[in-house]
């Protein structure tokens, strides 16, 4: 009894922070403005504009995730093998940007990338051609990678440093080369970290609207932008909620994915 009582606050949090909002979203999603039951808000995802925005969001999220993975995995290996004895400091450097609000960091990119922004002014000074990626999907991917990279680095790094050194040494002793050790030992043992990192980059990239609004200049229309538009400018909460429910399906899929690979929870940040 006395121990159970400590779970009270968490129970309260789960009810108020998860179950109730989910219920409200579902209610809005399956009703129309008058409150009558309808599935139209959910099937609306199949209409041209919504499908296009969803596919674009999926594509950009996928590209961002792959880029993050390609950057983060070798970085994790370098950090793991670094003999500096200052691994903690290196990891700290990579998560330092997370201390600043991500909207501010995205806005900073906007200022940097603008046609007459800082990057182009510097390029102009040294006689190089302008970089015109602002208001294109490229800028949005750049923003996503910059914002979410720490979420990929941390779990991968955590999984890598947990690998028993003796296992790797034993492999070398038995005549394996570096490539074989990487393929047969390091990568398989870091899968939980990779899966966790992939989910933590893919899901927020898929649903973002702030990054695409700021760096896409309103030209890159992702499903997140459509949902945001429905909730704000159009004041159509029902359609917004219905589309959000569809997005949740993608989240559930990635959760199932994580569950499959990451049974031991080794890839968790903490």
């Amino acid at each position: 009894m006395s121990k159970k009582i400590f779970s009270g606050p968490f129970l309260l949090f789960i009810i108020c922070g998860t179950i109730v909002p989910l219920g409200v979203i579902t209610f809005y999603g399956i009703t129309d403005r008058s409150g009558a039951f309808t599935l139209e808000n959910i099937t609306a995802i199949t209409t041209g504009e919504h499908m296009e925005a969803l596919l674009l969001a999926l594509g950009l999220a996928l590209i961002s995730t792959v880029i993050c993975l390609v950057i983060a995995f070798p970085l994790g290996l370098i950090l793991k093998d670094s003999k500096l004895g200052k691994k903690g400091f290196m990891v700290f450097i990579f998560i330092l940007p997370m201390w600043m609000n991500f909207l501010l960091r995205t806005m900073a990119w906007q200022v940097l990338l603008e046609r007459n922004g800082i990057i182009n002014q510097v390029l102009g000074l040294i006689g190089l051609p302008d970089l015109n990626i602002i208001n294109t999907p490229t800028a949005v991917v750049l923003g996503m990678v910059y914002d979410y990279l720490p979420f990929m680095i941390l779990p991968i790094y955590n999984a890598l440093i947990k690998i028993d050194k003796n296992v790797i040494e034993a492999a070398y002793d038995l005549g394996a080369g570096y490539r074989q050790v990487l393929q047969k030992i390091i990568i398989p043992l870091s899968v939980p970290g990779i899966v966790s990192g992939v989910t933590m980059v893919f899901v927020p990239s898929l649903t973002t609207f702030a990054v695409s609004n700021m760096l896409g200049g309103g030209k890159v229309n992702l499903i997140g932008n459509i949902i945001e538009q429905e909730f704000t400018a159009s004041s159509n909460w029902n359609l917004g909620a219905g589309l959000s429910l569809v997005m949740m399906i993608f989240i559930v899929i990635s959760m199932a994915f994580i569950e499959k690979f990451d049974r031991n929870g080794e890839g968790n940040i903490i």
Binding site: M1, S2, I5, G8, P9, R33, G48, E49, H50, E52, A53, Q110, V111, E114, R115, N116, G117, I134, N135, N213, M214, G217, G218, K219, N221, N225, I226, Q229, E230, F231, T232, A233, S234, S235, N236
Partner: protein, 349 residues
């Protein structure tokens, strides 16, 4: 013993809950009670808060929001008891249509006489008789352009369709303002409910889209100040600020006419301190306060007493320009849904 522990824990939890809720609750009361104001962020000089408290004896609590749409559910569901709110024209109309606003007792607002006459016809459209709202700021939409980056006179919305400015134009990232531009270009009303006209406007906007550098609302002025685009559709309120930072910028109200917007003070029916709310509106309409706010915001304030102070002509457009302007009307959620459908088609194209 266990029971006592449980009771203590529950007490602690209850206390922490009241602490949490206490944050948004009442602080010390003023001698005449407390006045709750719900307003757009940074929409009056914060120093006025103390002046008002000293002048009237009310304790003032100001909560902020960013958009009308954010404010609407709060007022509609009465989740917080606000005594006075700030809202835009079409939102006043929407709140009125749902019977959420109280009539203002003009006896308590003698400064209502200061309201400029040329703003009144626009207010009459969304609030007949101006019974429920009084203006805080007003302005128009127009084209801000960089003198050094354009050829010839800029005086028409058609310039946004001019191929030579490809990738040089910042368009508004909001639905009704986007359609306003197309409506004025094509000679329709910006409040049209005709689907054929809506479709034609969408086609015109789609035709314009390849020329746009970006779609932006608040960041448009920064793009212009930074010389990153030749022209932007922007509200006249940004003119003084932008010119201060970039002397090459000019602002024009296109000859086809444009949208006149008015942000107003209104009192929700649920207000607990209606007299305080009227005192606040009266305070805001006084000469000194209007002057302070104009200098702070650089948005035009429709107050007769400070008309001479506003030396930027576009902030006080002449009669013949205003005659071609319209105010944004609330079209109802069904028409909004149709607009939204076409707008998404435009954004996806």
């Amino acid at each position: 013993m266990k029971k006592i522990k449980a009771v203590v824990l529950i007490l602690i939890m209850a206390m922490s809950l009241t602490l949490l809720t206490g944050c948004g609750g009442k602080k010390s009361e003023g001698e005449n009670g407390t006045l709750y104001v719900y307003c757009f962020g940074d929409y009056f000089d914060p120093e006025l808060q103390q002046d008002f408290e000293e002048a009237t004896g009310y304790k003032l609590i100001v909560d902020l929001f960013d958009t009308n749409e954010e404010m609407y559910p709060v007022v509609k569901n009465n989740t917080a008891d606000y005594d006075v709110i700030c809202a835009s024209d079409y939102m006043i109309e929407k709140l009125l249509s749902e019977d959420l606003l109280a009539e203002i007792n003009y006896d308590n607002v003698p400064n209502a006489d200061n309201v400029m006459d040329n703003v009144k016809p626009f207010m009459e459209e969304f609030d007949p008789g101006m019974k429920h709202s009084l203006p805080h700021t007003w302005g128009t939409y127009g084209i801000m352009y960089n003198k050094t980056m354009v050829n010839g006179a800029i005086d028409s919305w058609n310039v946004l369709w001019d191929e030579q400015y490809k990738d040089q134009i910042v368009m508004p990232n909001s639905m009704r303002e986007g359609y306003m531009i197309a409506a004025k270009k094509l000679g329709y009303s910006m409040n049209t409910t005709d689907e054929g006209e809506l479709s034609a406007m969408t086609d015109a906007l789609i035709e314009q889209k390849p020329l746009a550098y970006s779609f932006a609302n608040d960041s448009a002025r920064e793009i212009m100040i930074g010389d990153s685009a030749a022209m932007a559709v922007i509200t006249s309120g940004e003119v003084i600020y932008s010119k201060e930072y970039n002397e090459n910028l000019e602002f024009v109200i296109p000859k086809e006419g444009t949208e006149v917007w008015t942000d107003c003070w209104a009192i929700p029916k649920t207000a607990k301190n209606k007299e305080g709310a009227e005192a606040w509106i009266n305070f805001m309409l006084s000469k000194e306060v209007a002057e302070t706010n104009f200098e702070y915001l650089t948005y035009a304030i429709p107050n007769k007493e400070i008309a001479d102070l506003i030396d930027e002509p576009v902030l006080n457009p002449p009669e013949d320009v205003l005659a071609k302007c319209e105010t944004l009307r609330n079209l109802g959620s069904d028409v909004d849904a149709v607009y939204s459908k076409y707008w998404k088609k435009y954004k996806a194209d």
